[in-house]
Symmetry: D2
Subunit: 150 residues, 4 copies
């Protein structure tokens, strides 16, 4: 699959608070943008990144995050953020992100999140992704028309 | 060199604003902590990350940043942040960071910064690291007593 | 005028990074939301909060900002942010903001911004609001149908 | 009492992430600095702003916050933050803050915090300030030598 389709695309305008004295967007913001895009993806699938069930809270803490910066992005620019699934594991998701701005790639990132039960004291215990969510993620990552039918 | 010494060590207490609803520190903060530690390192060497000279401004925009998360960190925790030089290039620096908390490694990160002249419109042009700064960085990265003398 | 109409209304979903360990949105975020709503108002009028003209940069630094918190707001909540003009001066604007969430007032704020030329070294000089912008702000603040005609 | 003494004084260097494209510190940061100074004051008195007791969590959510901006503050500047108590109530504290920079007043702020029990769902219930904490705050606000003795 050479040109995978993003699972989710989000548009976001750079705010004043996103900038720094260099005149460009602060590099740490891209990580927040990745996280928010991941959350919006989950929301679009009918779930949430911070799921409070009756007796437990399920979250998706990150275990790894990286970003490569290609072009400066400025106040007022609009970013197109594309979310791809790199790998869906039993307990974790690896996402890839592209940030497009003014027709060019501005940055690209990767992030891995693990499905966890959050303890009262901030502790984390990895659990298998609940099947209803896992199924939705698999479906979303499968290009329409390419699903194998029995 | 098996156990390199950090060029710079910083202590930093986690603030309320660093946390999120999970009860732990927000993952994006580690990137800000890396940046600030890099800046404090430069400051300790007598230079700055945002150097306004008479006719130009020199900055160190990041081209790559990553972080791996090992243990949750909470409000009130104190981080010990250790800065190492991975590689000193002609125009760029690659740093490695360790975050220690309550006696254990909580996270580790990498970041590469390029020495640039900042244009009026947020544009960036890579330049060789000014020799006075390059020399200071080399000296700081050289463990005392291991310098080769002619 | 008992029930003034907002000049601008914005909807904004609370992001994970907006929260803190208390489980609610961090109080400082409301100030960022006010600023962004002000900026979007200016954008909707065809101008911008950071106007780079040929020989100068015009900005709107705040001289005063306050917020009163009424109800907690949580991750995933959607805020409706309403912007009103309290007073339009020769060189400054005073805005009032209402934050509505789940059908109730969650917070209300005020902010005064001064129209300034930004100096190279971060200095600020207050100037009269350029007439094209002042006129647009006056028009936006005047409820349709209530304009006095000669 | 004409020249009250601050209960707490904190020094803080402006970080890169605190700045915006105007070249100055972002106005919202002063609110974070107020909060952190309040927390450090509480810490200096042997308590904390987020107190997890066996069966409840006590926090100090803000009900009101304001800041007046006098002089721009820039990257690399060092702020001296002075915390005063405006009023100690049965369930709340009102603080006043002064931000000094390069020998002049840069900003001043006010903030009121209410002592609350935090519910599981982000709910808040105001409670009387626990007497051990109230006593410490009273003592800290009383200039040495001016205590009335029986």
């Amino acid at each position: 699959m050479k040109h995978p389709k993003p699972l989710y695309t989000q548009h976001r305008r750079i705010e004043f608070v996103d900038t720094d004295v260099s005149g460009n967007i602060h590099f740490s913001r891209f990580f927040i943008f990745m996280e928010t895009a991941e959350h919006e993806l989950l929301r679009s699938l009918g779930t949430t990144v911070h799921l409070e069930e009756e007796d437990r809270t399920i979250g998706w803490p990150r275990v790894d995050a990286r970003c490569r910066y290609v072009q400066p992005v400025r106040f007022g620019d609009e970013l197109e953020i594309r979310v791809f699934v790199d790998r869906q594991g039993a307990k974790s998701m690896s996402y890839r992100f592209e940030f497009h701005c003014r027709g060019a790639l501005a940055a690209e990132g990767k992030m891995s999140s693990v499905c966890c039960v959050l303890g009262d004291n901030g502790g984390l215990e990895a659990i298998p992704i609940p099947e209803t969510i896992a199924e939705k993620l698999r479906r979303a990552a499968t290009p329409a028309g390419s699903e194998v039918r029995s």
